[in-house]
C-alpha cells in the first residue's frame, strides 16, 4: 500500500521549509496522490561504499605513480579504468538519485522504474567489475575507439565491458524517460522549461529543480542515445570485422561521456536548489534569468564536448571554434547564475550552517574553482600545452569532488528530514567542523599536486614516470598522502551522513540566536521559526 499525501500547487509546497512561503501561499487546490517510493537511502549506502572503494583505487594509482608499489604497475590501467568508469557512473547515479528525491514532492515517478534503476545499475557494475578485475580490461574510462578491440586483454573482457555499458545505458535511459514522464504528468513542456518566465509571467511558480531536471533529462536522452549509437557501432565492428570511422566514434563517445558527467553536476545542483533555501530561510525562486540560463544549457552543453577533439586535426576547424565558444558559454548560464544565485541567497540571510549547507557551499566553491581550470583548458592556445597533462584530471577532480560534496550534503539533508528533526535547531558541531577542515585540507593538497603536475607538463595516464618526469613521481607521492587524509575525513563524514537518518541523532548544539557557529555564521534560524 502506498502512502497517500495531499499535494497543493502552491508556493508552500513549491518552496517547502522556507520562511515566508506560507504567507505567500495562494489558495490551495488539493488533490490526493500516492507518494513515490524513496530509494534515496539505498542509493546513499551504495554510493558511500563505492566511493570509498573507488577512492582507495585512486590512492593506489597515485602510489604506483609515486613508485611506492612497484610490483603493481601492471594493475595501473585496469585500476584506472575501474576507478574512472566507476566514479563517473557513480557520480551520475548518485546525482540522479538526489534529483529524483528533490522532485518527489512535486512529481510522481514510477516506483517500478526506481527499483529497476537500482537493480540495473548493480548488474552493470557487476559486469564492469568482472571485465576489469578478471579480464583486466584497461581501455580507460571513455574506452576510446578502437582501443577496446586492440588491447592486450582477452576479447571477452572487452565484450563484457561493452555489455556493462549497454546495461547501464539502457537502465539510465529508462530512468531518465520516466523522470520526463513524471514531469510531463504535472507540467506542460513550456512550464517545465520555465518559458512563461521569459514572457514576464511569474505564475505558475515552477521550482528551479523542475526546470533543471527537465533540461537535464532532455539532454540526457541525447547523451544516452549517442552512447547507444557508439555501442551499436562497436558491436557492428565486432560482428562484421568492418571498422567504423574513428573520428565519428570519438565525437559520439564524447557527446555521450562529456555530456553525461556534465549533467551529473547539473542534477546535483538541482538538489542544492531544492535544499539550500531550507538553511537560508528564504526561497530560491525561478525567474527570467534562471529560465534563460538553464534553457541555454540545452544547446550549449551539447556543443561544448568539441573541446575534447582539439588535437584531432581532421575535425573541421569551425567545430573547434564552436567548441571553445560553447565551453566559455557553458560557464555563464549555469555556473555564474547558479553560483551568484547561491551567494545572493546566502548573503545577509539568517543562514543555518549545518553539515549539509556547508557541504553545499563547499561543493559550489569547488565547482567554481574546477570550472575555471576547465575554461583555461578549453582555450585552444592553452590546450596546446595542457592537453593530456595532469591538468585535465586536476580540473575534473576538483568539480567531481565538489559534486560529491553536494551529494553527501543532500544525503545528510534527507537524513535529517526523515529523522524529523527541526533543521532550525541544528548547526555544525565542533567534531563535524574538524572533519570538514581535514576534508578540505586533504582535497586541496591532493588537487594541488594534480594542478602542479599539469602546469609542469606531467602527462596524464602514465603508470610510471620516466626520469625526464621525475617531478611527476614526487607530486604523485604527496598526492597519495593528501588523498589518504582526504579519504579518512571522507569516511568520517560519510559516517556522520549515515547516522543522520537516526531519529535520536542530535547534531550540533542548540545555540541562541546570533551566537556564532564554529563556521562563523550567526545561527539566527531560531529567530525565524
Amino acid at each position: 500500500m502506498l502512502e497517500q499525501t495531499t499535494v497543493h500547487t502552491t508556493h508552500t509546497n513549491t518552496y517547502p521549509d522556507v520562511v515566508g512561503a506560507l504567507e505567500a501561499a495562494p489558495e490551495a487546490r488539493a488533490t490526493t496522490m500516492p507518494a513515490t517510493l524513496s530509494t534515496i537511502r539505498h542509493w546513499m549506502v551504495i554510493s558511500a561504499a563505492l566511493f570509498v572503494i573507488l577512492a582507495l583505487l585512486g590512492i593506489c594509482m597515485r602510489l604506483i605513480q609515486g613508485d611506492v608499489l612497484p610490483g603493481e604497475q601492471s594493475w595501473f590501467y585496469p585500476l584506472m579504468t575501474l576507478h574512472g568508469d566507476g566514479m563517473a557512473g557513480l557520480w551520475f547515479v548518485a546525482a540522479m538519485a538526489c534529483a529524483t528525491e528533490a522532485l518527489r514532492k512535486h512529481v510522481r515517478a514510477s516506483n517500478a522504474v526506481a527499483v529497476f534503476a537500482l537493480a540495473g545499475t548493480v548488474v552493470g557494475v557487476a559486469l564492469l567489475l568482472v571485465s576489469v578485475l578478471v579480464g583486466r580490461f584497461a581501455a580507460g574510462w571513455y574506452f576510446l575507439y578502437p582501443l577496446p578491440l586492440h588491447g592486450e586483454w582477452p576479447a571477452w573482457s572487452a565484450v563484457t565491458f561493452l555489455l556493462s555499458l549497454t546495461v547501464l545505458g539502457a537502465t539510465w535511459l529508462i530512468w531518465s524517460l520516466d523522470m520526463l514522464r513524471a514531469v510531463a504528468e504535472r507540467y506542460s513542456l513550456p512550464h517545465a522549461l520555465g518559458w512563461h518566465y521569459l514572457r514576464g509571467e511569474s505564475e505558475p511558480a515552477i521550482p528551479p529543480a523542475v526546470i533543471i531536471v527537465t533540461v537535464s533529462m532532455i539532454v540526457n536522452v541525447v547523451a544516452l542515445v549517442a552512447g547507444v549509437v557508439t555501442l551499436v557501432l562497436f558491436y557492428f565492428q565486432l560482428l562484421t570485422g568492418s571498422p567504423v570511422d574513428a573520428l565519428l566514434m570519438k565525437n559520439l563517445t564524447f557527446l555521450f561521456g562529456h555530456t553525461l558527467v556534465n549533467l551529473a553536476m547539473y542534477l546535483a545542483l538541482a538538489a542544492v536548489y531544492d535544499a539550500l533555501p531550507a538553511y537560508a530561510g528564504r526561497p530560491w525562486k525561478a525567474n527570467k534569468i534562471v529560465a534563460i540560463s538553464w534553457n541555454s544549457v540545452l544547446l550549449i552543453v551539447l556543443l561544448a564536448y568539441f573541446h575534447h577533439l582539439y588535437m584531432d586535426f581532421v575535425q573541421p576547424g569551425t567545430l573547434q571554434y564552436i567548441g571553445q565558444i560553447a565551453s566559455y558559454a557553458a560557464s555563464l548560464p549555469a555556473a555564474i547564475v547558479t553560483i551568484f544565485g547561491a551567494l545572493l541567497l546566502v548573503y545577509h540571510a539568517p543562514m543555518r550552517w549545518t553539515l549539509a549547507s556547508v557541504l553545499f557551499f563547499l561543493g559550489l566553491m569547488g565547482w567554481a574553482i574546477g570550472g575555471i581550470g576547465a575554461v583555461i583548458d578549453s582555450t585552444i592556445v592553452a590546450n596546446v600545452r595542457l592537453h593530456n597533462t595532469l591538468w585535465v584530471p586536476a580540473h575534473f577532480h576538483t568539480y567531481m569532488l565538489a559534486g560529491f560534496a553536494m551529494i553527501a550534503g543532500y544525503f545528510y539533508h534527507c537524513g535529517r528530514r526523515s529523522a524529523d528533526v527541526d533543521l532550525a535547531a541544528e548547526s555544525v558541531g565542533a567534531y563535524q567542523a574538524v572533519i570538514l577542515n581535514w576534508l578540505v585540507a586533504g582535497a586541496c593538497g591532493f588537487l594541488a599536486m594534480f594542478y602542479l603536475g599539469g602546469a609542469y607538463s606531467v602527462p596524464r595516464r602514465y603508470a610510471v614516470y620516466p626520469v625526464e618526469l621525475a617531478h611527476g613521481t614526487a607530486y604523485a607521492l604527496w598526492a597519495g598522502a593528501f588523498a589518504a587524509v582526504f579519504l579518512i575525513a571522507a569516511v568520517l563524514c560519510l559516517i556522520e551522513v549515515m547516522a543522520s537518518w537516526r531519529k535520536e541523532a542530535a547534531v550540533g548544539e542548540e545555540r541562541p540566536a546570533g551566537h556564532p557557529t564554529p563556521i562563523g555564521a550567526p545561527a539566527a534560524a531560531h529567530a525565524d521559526h
Binding site: 500547487t9 487546490r29 488533490t31 496522490m33 510522481r108 524517460l177 520526463l180 514522464r181 510531463a184 504528468e185 504535472r186 507540467y187 506542460s188 513542456l189 512550464h191 517545465a192 532532455i218 539532454v219 536522452v221 541525447v222 547523451a223 542515445v225 549517442a226 549509437v229 557501432l233 557492428f236 568492418s242 571498422p243 567504423v244 570511422d245 573520428l247 565519428l248 565525437n251 559520439l252 557527446l255 551539447l302 556543443l303 586535426f313 581532421v314 575535425q315 573541421p316 567545430l319 564552436i322
Partner: protein, 281 residues
Amino acid sequence: MRTTSGRRVGAACVLALLAAAAGAQADPSVAVSRAEGRLLHRRVPDVPLHLADGRTVPLSSLWQDKPLLVTFFYRNCHGICSPFLAWIRNAVREDDGLGRNYRILALSFGEQDTVADMRSQGEALGIDDPDWLFAIADREALARVIEALEFWYRPDPATGQYDHTALLVAVEDGRVKRALVGGAGFAERFPVMARELRGEFIRSYAVPAQTAWRCFSFDPVTGRVSVDWGLLILQTAWRCFSFDPVTGRVSVDWGLLILGLPTLTAMTVTFGIFRRGPRRR
C-alpha cells in the same frame, strides 16, 4: 514572404556548399591499402648491389643522403614492367624531384638478368641520370629484400615469364616511409608521396572502402574536408533540407538546425512525452 525566400536562399547556399563538399570527396585512389600499411616503418636489409655501371655498392649507401624509391622489374618482361618503369619516369619528370629530393633504384628480380641488361633497360627508357640506378643482386641478398618488402612474384613455366605485382617503396634512413602496391591510382598518389619525401606533412591517408559512416572526408591532394554520412548519425549543427529535383525547390524541413540522430530522438521523445499535457495539478 521575405522570411520564406530568405530561408530558401539560406538553404540553397547550404545545398551549394554541401554539393561542393561532396565534389571534393577524397579520391579512393589516394587511399592506403592494408598491404601498404603493413609495410610502413619496416626495416629494409642492407645488401650488396651490382649497378649498371659495374660498381658494387651497399644498398644503405643509396639512402644515406636522401630517400630512396625502390621498384622491382625484370628485363624480359612482356607485361607491366616496362610500362610501369615508364610511368615512374614520367611522373618523376613531372615532379622534378629526382636527385634533389630522392633517388630511384630499379632492382631486377629476373634470374637471368645481367649488369648489361641493366644498362640496356636504362637506354630503352631513355634514362641517363646518376640518381636513377638499375641493379641486380645475388639471389640470397635479393630474397632478403623481397621478403622484407613483401614483393610477390612467381615464375610461369608455360610462358617463361613471371607473374608479379607492381611495387614502389619509399625508403628513408633504411625504413619504409610509404609504399604504393598495385598499379591503380599511381598517377594521383605519386605526387602525394613525392610531397611527403620533400618533408611535407601529409595530414591523412584515407582507408578505402573499409570505413562505414565516416564524419568528414579529407582529401590529401587538395587539402579539402568534406561532409560525409556519419555526420547525420552525430549531432551537429547542420541544416536539414529537402530538394525537389523536379521543381528545383529547396525547402527547410525543420527550419532550424538539425542536431542529428541523438538530438532528433531526444526531441521526438520529449515532445511525445509532453504531448498529452499535464494530467495532474
